[in-house]
Subunit: 194 residues, 3 copies
């Protein structure tokens, strides 16, 4: 397996978990959990693939939907154990942001060779799942929260693109880039950066 | 004409009518009716076709836009006759749900041969028109209502896919499947299932 | 340069400015300005290109993203100078509407040859950027405001399509059509037409 796919699977799983947590906050049934998990998990990547005009990833490979399904069921049976589901949602979202801004940049760079499009697609991949989740759940959009969000995705996607174009192999560029994005988003939440 | 297209035309017309009723509730002008009717009528199928990477159906065949246009005009001149436009909207939406989850599953099964994608596309086709309508109208998303919604679409799409793969011809699988979805959604509304 | 591209660049720039003004009203940071500007500036055209199944314009030509970037920075440093940012937003939106309904109609007519699709795509191109902006910003959708909006886009797109099919060259049809749309939308705002 291409090791960069680890970021993809991780991004899907944690975004799916945030979707399921949103369903939990809305007291939906198990099918509602599944729908929100799938929508949030694959939403950003779907928009990315449509814009890049490549086959939509989860139509080609059903593993992704299975990840969302399993995640939704796990969250359904465990969500009540967490004291603050919203806080958990935000931290998982930060991990997904880190994984997915890098994976989106990688995929766009492979598909187009353009660093500009790589950075833009990193941001789109990382942010659209959460945007769709918040829109559907009728919650204020995560973009409007005072803490840094898009900036973190932009930094991660730009770090990956810069390091890879500077000659680093994919994973050597991807891991620090994902950590940069997570650290910025996490720091913003933890210390109230804005 | 392919008889399965009856479900497609029916789904379009009733979803278009729900869009026009949403416009009526917002006291929009005739163009607003038309816009909401078209958006709701063809929205789910547009997302389906983009994801399946097949030509968007209403770009290829203008009949669909004509159906939305006629429906919008009819609703414009008759909406005031109904005591509860919201109740009517919900019942029409249930009919559209039944027709469209089956049609979406049929089209996806023809295009990809995958039963998983067939079921997912049935749900997407049946739900996205209503989701877009509610988002645009600034109403709480239909997915968040306590009654069963996605479950009904899932049951209808899965019934069609299962019956057809079990060897039944298209229409023999489609009609009971559409009735299953409508019965579940209608029962949920009528008897308050949740 | 194809002279019709002037309408495209103008549409992008003024829609991007309205997105940046929405970010300003939400007191976002510079990255938030950039994101809203890009989203609003290229959103309508992206939906148009996906539905027409042509390459998404800003993936092919990075100038468009650069226009959004420059516009966002300009608005970031000047927005406080305007007494009413919302009024400015609405007037810029009216200019964007005029430019973009005609450009969308032109592009769809070139791609499909169908006058029906040309008019529909004119409306989609002109309205979706603003719809996405309002959804993201959590503001009531511009379609639900009492003043004429979709009607103006429809009139502009239909005027262009009619004049061009009647034999006028592209720019001779485009300029009056854009003015028609702007005049209808502007008149509706100025004189409270509804």
């Amino acid at each position: 397996m291409n090791p960069i796919l680890i970021l993809d699977y991780a991004g899907i799983a944690v975004f799916a978990a945030t979707g399921a947590l949103a369903a939990s906050r809305k007291q939906l049934d198990i099918i509602g959990f599944l729908f929100f998990a799938a929508f949030t998990g694959v939403g950003g990547g779907t928009v990315r693939d449509l814009i890049l005009d490549v086959p939509v990833f989860w139509v080609v490979n059903h593993d992704y939907l299975m990840i969302c399904l399993v995640t939704a069921v796990l969250v359904y049976f465990t969500a009540h154990l967490f004291e603050s589901r919203f806080k958990l949602l935000l931290w998982l979202d930060a991990i997904g942001l880190g994984a997915y801004c890098v994976f989106g940049a990688w995929k766009a760079l492979e598909a187009t060779g353009s660093p500009v499009i790589a950075v833009v697609m990193g941001v789109i991949t990382a942010s659209f799942g959460g945007i769709l989740r918040d829109q559907l759940a009728g919650e204020p959009c995560i973009l409007l929260r005072p803490e840094i969000y898009i900036t973190a995705a932009l930094a991660g996607a730009a770090t990956y693109t810069g390091l890879h174009l500077a000659g680093l192999p994919v994973m050597a560029a991807a891991i620090p880039a994902a950590l940069v994005a997570f650290a910025i988003r996490g720091g913003a939440m933890k210390f109230g950066w804005s």
